[in-house]
């Protein structure tokens, strides 16, 4: 067994990485690294991990609750034995060379001992200093001693030294007086530490644009003008207004809401000529959520282009418009005026010049994303370069590398990104970081030695120990804790019961271990706070005392009792007794569970030899694992073979050739050209694939993971007379034409580009994402070659998101003409000489500015055709038992937080197979898929969950309902025996199958029917007597 790096040590350069910034990107990067066996130092400036996501109420386009999806990742991160968290810390310097860096980190004083703090909140209650709450963007007050937000992780309190009366003026000390555990330490000082690591990942994120200095929209002058972030906090159920939207002017809910887009984005005048990429969707989401809050509310979005370019974004846009009745007005805001009643009059102009006035109750400024404050200093400290907007600089073909070798970047730090893109880039950056480390495969399973240490309790009658926690006065101030502990003594099977001051304190944990020994306890119940935070701690404790960790149960008498019934002490005490009784009822039936190891094959199979497939192969191959790269065609490169230019000027073909060479000569990568997959069976760590090789023979491979990188196809259109003239080409064909310099005969003066051919309409209700940028890119290339060519665009929305915006401006400023068309009024195309295959093309397009048709006799018509999912996806999806969405694209496990995983473990997706994306995005996602696969492949075995489903085959009739309801393909009906078989490696323990089994053949370990029945029944007798 390979030795794991120990958390306490600062780690060795060979197997440790520093991650700066604990937002979603930093968390994801840390978790991926830690799962590969890398020791991680996670450095975070604020007192909590989580970053921007906890500030969000919901996330687009699924309206998932942001905190619901993030919280499990946060606790996983903080609990991971290989992740050392340094909160309130800053990275000051990186010295050394890639693979051997020394990082200087300043840990700022917290003034509260995190070991002693029990997060009871008495200090905050008593603290006399009210300050503006940063988390709630000033909409609420907090104290000088506080938690960053209610669900902060870590949950301990910290003192804000700028505002603390004692630290600033030497008076007060109230917190010290009320702290029941003596956790306050005014003598705390900043510490400097040095960390030796192999690589660094930067993930410091972004700041929202601050419109205060901007003036134009009356922000801060008019009380009902708010930023989108402020509005988000208003929408949040845990926000300052409890999820009620209120106008600051009178506290009433607004009836008419306006969103102004591109505030701080796409604005040359304030040096922000880039698109923040997320604000359109953010505003659409907010308008939908606001309308869900109040049906009468009217919402209008004022925009330039709606940039709903991501996966399923256009459907969301469509839903907002057609289902929720959100108004979209393409216009420019000319003026905003506050009326005496606090409402706001907007003056805006449409593209045809019409001016309108309209009054709203509240105006939301859709503020853009900008580099984080202090990023310039950081870049100097760390010696990394920034781009001209102040974002961390990276290039098209190395989107996750900074200018400094060995230092990687992810999240929105180097370009505006939404959540899934941040997660993708985080996993992707990890691939770069691990390539600098020396990692060996490790075995996370419990050693036999440890297993033997565990007491065998089978056959013993339950001997339950109950520990009732005072939590200082948090519980004992309301609940009669002694009475509850006394009551527990009388319960069946309770061998020992006592009340304790702080169950989670080190000395009490020792007490619990002693009592297990003294009373030969074989089940433990702790009545204290919530199992969501404390169950792992107590499980570890009883495990140290030789009990199986699953022989533990918690009764939540604080968060769900004393805190919620502060004025009803008697009832709260009664409730606590019931909760303890229910806990004992459950505990009585608990049985030891083990997490069975599942061996993992170290190889990976990658389906598809395009840019994504090759990149993923390199990520895994470079980490020392064998890779099978299978490609249907007889050549590597996929769609990239047709890409010749990119904005930055570097040569895609050169990069492609380098990549192919690397792949072909890599001693870990076996390239299988001209090969097709016939069958894939098995599960995570244990896949078996049969394929037909170039000679037409069947070959078999075994591997631990699968990456789907099957790419996409250019849509074959029959619209706009495509195919009938040499002068009508697709953007792909045009790019080759530009590259080869082979243009249609004669002069090339008039060139028309039609966007969204096949995209964003019936049959393909999605944006193909890259066509706008591609068309702009090719138009600029055309300019270079034919300076006199006139370029016309027929478009619906120009979606040059991110830094591509600059090139769009360049093209526009250079005189290209843009005509916006609608689905009802598409451009009309005819051949001037219908029978001539080389005829020039007459394009008629309606100009909404002049409000009349414009006729262009074009020398060339270039169609931006959609990206289609290959039909073969369906077959592969069936073999892998993974889903496709309605557009035939592979459907990831979770659109926000698991963007490259499938719900079925061990299978990943990247590139166009997931959804349309550009080269940089494909590269990042391919690396991410490689990383995610490595989180499995780096382990010799993985541990199945302890709480998983099990089958009693004698009861099973094989009806298959369990198989259908399982989201993880963890159950199959054995066709021979006609009974359900559970794959322990895949089961996540949700229990949906169990509740769907009529026959009682399934049960869920840890939450068995018997255990739950005894919880319901534990109150039966009493209940029938009445309380």
């Amino acid at each position: 067994m390979t030795e794991l790096p120990v958390k306490e040590s600062s780690g060795s350069k060979k197997n440790s990485v520093l991650v700066l910034g604990a937002g979603i990107a930093g968390i994801q990067a840390s978790l991926d690294l830690a799962e590969m066996g890398v020791a991680v130092h996670l450095i975070e400036e604020t007192p909590t991990i989580g970053g921007r996501m906890p500030q969000l109420d919901k996330t687009f386009p699924t309206n998932d609750c942001s905190m619901c999806i993030l919280a499990p990742k946060m606790s996983e991160c903080v609990r991971h034995p290989l992740i050392t968290l340094h909160i309130m810390s800053n990275l000051k310097e990186i010295s050394g060379t890639p693979g051997d860096f020394t990082c200087r980190v300043i840990e700022r004083a917290k003034y509260v001992d995190p070991v002693k703090c029990v997060s009871c909140g008495l200090c905050e209650e008593k603290c006399p200093v009210k300050i503006e709450d940063e988390f709630d963007v000033g909409l609420r007050k907090t104290k000088a001693i506080s938690r960053y937000f209610l669900q902060s992780i870590p949950s301990e309190y910290t003192i804000n030294k700028e505002h603390c009366l004692y630290l600033t003026k030497g008076v007060c000390k109230l917190c010290e007086k009320v702290c029941p555990t003596g956790a306050i330490n005014y003598e705390d000082t900043d510490r400097e530490i040095e960390l030796n690591v192999g690589a660094v990942i930067l993930a410091t994120g972004i700041d929202p644009f601050d419109p205060i200095g901007f003036g134009q929209f009356g922000y801060h002058r008019y009380s009902n003008v708010v930023t989108s972030l402020e509005f988000e906090r208003m929408l949040s159920a845990s926000g300052p207004y409890g999820g009620h939207i209120e106008k600051a002017s009178d506290g009433k809910p607004p009836k008419r809401l306006a969103f102004i887009q591109c505030v701080g984005s796409r604005d040359e005048s304030i040096d922000r000529n880039y698109c923040s990429s997320a604000c359109c969707m953010f505003a659409i989401k907010q308008s939908i959520i606001a309308k869900e809050h109040s049906k009468e509310l009217e919402a209008t979005i004022f925009y330039m282009d709606i940039r709903a370019f991501g996966k399923d974004f256009d459907k969301y846009y469509d839903k907002a418009e057609n289902q929720y009745g959100v108004q979209f007005k393409r216009s420019k805001i000319a003026d905003i005026k506050e009326l005496p009643d606090g409402s706001l009059e907007l003056k805006y102009t449409f593209e045809n010049g019409d001016i309108q006035h309209e009054t709203f109750d509240m105006v939301v400024l859709s503020i853009g994303l900008q580099p984080r404050m202090g990023s310039r200093e950081l870049s100097e400290d760390l010696d990394i370069r920034l781009n001209r907007f102040g974002f961390c600089k990276s290039d098209t073909f190395h989107p996750l590398k900074t200018s400094r070798e060995g230092v990687f970047v992810c999240g929105a730090m180097n370009s505006p990104k939404d959540i899934p893109e941040s997660v993708v880039s985080a996993s992707g950056a990890v691939a770069g970081a691990v390539s600098l480390l020396e990692l060996e495969r490790y075995d996370p399973s419990v050693s036999e030695e440890e297993e033997e240490k565990e007491k065998d309790v089978t056959g013993e009658r339950p001997r339950v120990g109950v520990f009732v926690c005072h939590c200082g006065i948090n519980i004992a101030g309301v609940v009669d804790v002694k009475n509850v502990a006394e009551f527990a003594k009388g319960l069946q099977n309770v061998e020992h019961s006592e009340d304790v001051m702080y169950a989670c304190s080190t000395d009490c944990l020792e007490t619990i271990k002693q009592r297990i020994e003294e009373h030969d306890l074989n089940r433990v119940v702790v009545a204290a706070c919530t199992p969501r935070t404390h169950e792992p701690l107590f499980r570890d404790t009883i495990s140290e005392a030789g009990l199986n960790p699953y022989l533990f149960e918690m009764a939540n008498i604080r968060d769900q009792c004393s805190w919620a019934h502060m004025n009803e002490p008697e009832m709260a005490t009664e409730k606590s007794k019931d909760l303890v009784e229910m806990g004992v009822g459950k505990a009585r039936g608990l049985v030891p569970l083990s997490r069975l190891p599942i061996d993992i094959d170290p190889e990976a199979l990658i389906v598809g030899g395009g840019l994504s497939g090759m990149t993923a192969a390199l990520a895994i191959g470079d980490a020392g694992h064998d890779v099978y790269l299978i490609e249907r065609e007889d050549v590597l490169g996929g769609n990239m073979r047709d890409i010749f230019f990119n904005f930055s000027g570097s040569d895609p073909q050169e990069f492609l050739a380098e990549t192919i060479e690397k792949v072909e000569n890599h001693d870990r990568i076996r390239v299988l050209l001209d090969s097709t997959i016939e069958d894939i069976t098995g599960f995570v760590g244990n896949f078996r694939t049969v394929f037909k090789n170039v000679a037409g023979e069947l070959e078999e491979l075994t591997h631990g993971a699968v990456i789907v990188a099957t790419g996409g196809n250019e849509h074959e259109t029959s619209e706009y007379l495509y195919g009938s003239s040499s002068r009508i080409v697709t953007q792909k064909e045009f790019e080759r034409m530009l590259h080869e310099g082979k243009f249609p005969a004669g002069k090339l003066r008039e060139v028309v580009m039609v966007q969204c051919v096949g995209s964003r309409e019936e049959g393909r209700m999605y944006c193909s994402r890259i066509c706008c940028s591609k068309a702009v890119k090719n138009a600029l290339e055309l300019r270079k070659r034919k300076a006199r060519a006139n370029i016309y665009f027929a478009y619906r929305d120009i979606r040059t998101y991110g830094f591509a915006e600059e090139y769009y401006s360049e093209l526009r400023d250079g005189g290209a003409l843009f005509f916006r068309y609608t689905l009802e009024n598409k451009p009309k195309v005819e051949k001037i000489r219908p029978d001539d295959p080389d005829s020039r093309i007459r394009v008629t397009v309606f100009d909404p500015v002049l409000e009349k048709d414009v006729v262009i006799d074009a020398d060339l018509l270039v169609l931006a055709t959609a990206i289609d999912a290959p039909e073969q996806n369906l077959e592969l999806a069936k073999m892998l038992k993974v889903p496709l969405n309605s557009d035939g694209l592979f459907l990831e496990a979770h659109v926000k937080l698991r963007p490259v995983d499938f719900a079925t473990e061990g299978i990943f997706v990247c590139g166009l197979a997931h959804c349309p994306k550009d080269m940089s995005e494909s590269l990042a996602q391919a690396k991410a898929a490689g990383s995610r696969a490595l989180t499995f492949l780096k382990k010799k075995s993985i541990l199945a969950e302890g709480t998983i489903a099990e089958v009693r085959t004698d009861r099973c009739s094989g009806c298959g309902y369990c198989e259908e309801v399982c989201a993880y393909t963890a159950i199959e009906i054995d066709p021979e025996e006609c009974v359900a078989v559970i794959n322990d490696a895949l089961c996540k323990g949700c229990g949906a199958c169990v509740a769907s089994c009529r026959c009682g053949a399934l049960d869920l370990r840890g939450f068995t029917n018997q255990q739950l029945f005894s919880v319901f029944d534990s109150l039966e007798i009493e209940a029938s007597e009445g309380i």
Partner: protein
């Protein structure tokens, strides 16, 4: 205590509704102390029989709560659960069980206030109905 107090069972999913209940406490939101919470991994784990057994053993009401549609930690467990409840609730009402005794809700990890509101509402509704009699097994 002489006055009758309703006793209500709440079966909450671990990831959203249980977290929402915790948040209600952390935020010190006050709600009636009549509920007894049982934690399950997912609302999809809830067998309708749990509800029937609870009513039979004398609970005056039962609340089952999970993640909002789309939020399920286990991808689709709440949808699977929803179908069961969508049939169970009308069936129980049809045979004459008072509608307010059995309730289903979606409460997210961020909705502490919603949890408090839902619990308050259920408790008040059941208080109005009085003690459950219809499916209670008389010992």
């Amino acid at each position: 205590m002489s006055e009758w107090q309703p006793r209500i069972l709440a079966i909450l999913c671990n990831w959203c509704s249980y977290a929402g209940a915790d948040l209600a406490g952390v935020s010190r939101m006050q709600y009636p102390p009549n509920i007894r919470v049982v934690r399950v991994p997912c609302s999809g784990r809830v067998d309708p029989l749990f509800i029937m057994k609870s009513l039979q053993s004398g609970f005056d009401g039962v609340l089952v709560s999970g993640c909002h549609p789309g939020d399920c930690h286990y991808i689709s467990g709440n949808y699977i659960a929803r179908r069961k409840f969508a049939v169970l609730k009308p069936l129980l009402e049809f045979i004459g069980i008072e509608p307010n005794r059995i309730q289903f809700s979606w409460i997210s990890a961020g909705e502490g206030e919603r949890f408090a509101t839902v619990v308050t509402k259920i408790t008040e509704d059941i208080r109005k109905l009085g003690p459950s009699t219809r499916l209670v097994k008389k010992l």
